[in-house]
Symmetry: C3
Subunit: 331 residues, 3 copies
Amino acid sequence: MNQFISVEDVPDINHLVDLALSYKQLPFKDSSIGRNKTLGMLFMNPSMRTRISTQIAARNLGMEVIVFNVDKEGWQLEFEEGVIMNGKSAEHVKEAAAVLGKYFDILSIRTFPGLINKEEDYSERFIQQFIKHAGIPVVSLESATMHPLQSLADIITIKENWVLPSLSGEGQGIRRPKVVLTWAPHVRALPQSVPNSFAQWINVWNETDFTIVQPQGYELDEKITQGATIMHDQDEALKDADFVYVKNWSSYNDYGIVLCSDSSWMITEKKLEKTNQAKVMHCLPVRRNLVIDDEVLDGAQSIVVKEAGNRVWAAQAVLSEILRTSEIKNR
Amino acid sequence: MNQFISVEDVPDINHLVDLALSYKQLPFKDSSIGRNKTLGMLFMNPSMRTRISTQIAARNLGMEVIVFNVDKEGWQLEFEEGVIMNGKSAEHVKEAAAVLGKYFDILSIRTFPGLINKEEDYSERFIQQFIKHAGIPVVSLESATMHPLQSLADIITIKENWVLPSLSGEGQGIRRPKVVLTWAPHVRALPQSVPNSFAQWINVWNETDFTIVQPQGYELDEKITQGATIMHDQDEALKDADFVYVKNWSSYNDYGIVLCSDSSWMITEKKLEKTNQAKVMHCLPVRRNLVIDDEVLDGAQSIVVKEAGNRVWAAQAVLSEILRTSEIKNR
Amino acid sequence: MNQFISVEDVPDINHLVDLALSYKQLPFKDSSIGRNKTLGMLFMNPSMRTRISTQIAARNLGMEVIVFNVDKEGWQLEFEEGVIMNGKSAEHVKEAAAVLGKYFDILSIRTFPGLINKEEDYSERFIQQFIKHAGIPVVSLESATMHPLQSLADIITIKENWVLPSLSGEGQGIRRPKVVLTWAPHVRALPQSVPNSFAQWINVWNETDFTIVQPQGYELDEKITQGATIMHDQDEALKDADFVYVKNWSSYNDYGIVLCSDSSWMITEKKLEKTNQAKVMHCLPVRRNLVIDDEVLDGAQSIVVKEAGNRVWAAQAVLSEILRTSEIKNR
């Protein structure tokens, strides 16, 4: 694996999932494969889970980690080609990426979309330019339109929480779990990266019955959701769900716009009644009583904290795979 | 020891002091007891000594350390129960603490008081909610009303600097040192955490004659100061003092208010004349010529830098004790 | 070596250069000489290359590293003597430096000039006060008027890139390379630290023919540039150059002022035609098409990324030398 930007970089999802689960059992079993290697972590935007879980993952593999908050500890980068740099940007990504490629062995980057220009965001030009100029493996810590470390952790969590019922002899293990990704309200315009990425991974993984439900106008990019059942009636969609993945996103078609703030889309205990005692997932941070209510989050069906815990093992599997198989020459 | 929030968490102060002093002699004697363990350090507020000394302490024990400036690298946390989170806070402490409890083995937190609502600050609800939801040992890096790592370092410093005179045969070692905590002026409204904590530890330690002196209206919480001699005449209080602990704080009764800016409360050489060549202590940062004057801080009686140096050994003793004796299951 | 503030601290430049190049070949050959030692890195100002390359260098030597963004994670420091600290500064450098001297084994500091008061900036009082009060070796990560880690990397880069042609039998190795430091335009008033430092090091190194060219009014301090050929005609100066070091700086005589924004001083392919196929250097960050144009930076003559890569080995040589030879007692 030479980079980790989307599911397309992954030859075998289940291999990564199994590797991650093996690290969950034995976190330090590969504690020397990253020896004398340094992971650079660049943040253009805030981060808690990704920031911390990836640091722990790298250290579990014996890697050094250097965190660089580009926006706060450095200066604004320029991504336009050919521009006369007499404005706010002090350095072009061409130099920044090339230099960081000299310093680090793996470069990881978080960068949010502007949510103004769809074409620009979906070209992923920020992270693509880092890839182009760094010359070392690049790992997305969430980019403009994708969040693959989250999606890998999500699949790990589904696999982990779906295997268990089968052991209880109820026969659930022999059917595919029904997974429903549902839009939920929020006060701000949020990126589509988490739902995009979840949809993409679930589709490629192809081990679930997958439904996406959202209000009219919130449909995601068809190229990404293709293969999923697309619905607009939340109650109908939730019926018999085994996993409910809750997430707000802004409109893809009416790009970056908040079209709906209908609080009836919030996930409540009542809504879950029609599910198959569905486990409730969310990438976090979650705004309580706006996206999901207290009762659900504090109840037994919520696995959001377990899911966040799995971020460590997802990141560890990805870094391990890159360290062991990347054909990109370091330094 | 399962947490370190106040002196009440400490079974035996002198045991911690002796452990700290042993680390001062041999910093790396326990350099593998923290192996494969990670200390999370969360800052809601600025910090220099606490931030750096605790990192060094953890590394001396072989622990990994991850620093997270919540306010700058993350987002605002919500601490209210049951609120509809449609405002500025992006994540509830319930999720944040629970997730961090998955990632770290010990969680340490700095959080200042609001100094507006006394009941809220003295309930210590911020740090208490982290304790409740993290499920791992929590160490205070200064909370709304207490600063126990500072107080432990203070007692180490008193013990260290009181033992020496006894060796000179002057017999000072066989009497209890007189310790005076004195209020001093400042331009801002400061928390009561350092004086509260110092008073609490000195009282429980019970190896000194302890006096607290402050202007009328600056009396600290009686439940905390009980056992100390309370005075309002600084000159009278300083008489025959062996240690003078200088600190500003805002009013406890008139909560968070600056009632007095009388510069005659500043500690000067002249003031120290009536003491028993008292050693002068302060937690730092100290505003020169406002709280303590240059002559004292640059003179032989000031031990503020030694005191700050002891912060490493205090933190190392606390982390070591938690690593070895905590009954809270990690991860 | 007890400190690294300017070339005057270096007994033998070529020894440092050779040590650096040996680390470039074998980064981990001295990976235990920094064991149980901690490098403190204090940033008063932003930094990318210096911040990251120095961290990697220290880790390569087995040192612990603690980064402290004084301006963002701490508070404002006071550098004036005798002042009543009732303003914005919360701590005096006397305490801050003395305490950090207790915590760290080597202290490194980045601090920019104010560019308002020449005498104050050129007294280097900020870093000098840290040296005075810390009591441990101090390394400049760029100070008000000097950037010695950059200059050492620059000389490494010149040596590395000058040796190669001689191997091709063209006989270039037996003459001294012609090095030209040229001013270039910028939109902001920048410090003189990089050109000062480069001039100082190149002069002391004394293995090149050295020319400095700038518009009228941009002459640097004569005490520093003495020994170099000083010119004002860029085309004339560039003739037969082997290395062109490009950099903007604000006026020294008209202190801190931008006197010229003549875009004809920008380095372009056309300008380089008169050189001896000169290698183009810049400390970075560089504003494209303002200081140097795209064609040059993207072309074969630019060695700015290699130069930045050498920052690791320069820092590693300096830290190694201090660890092995400093007579200042740590802690």
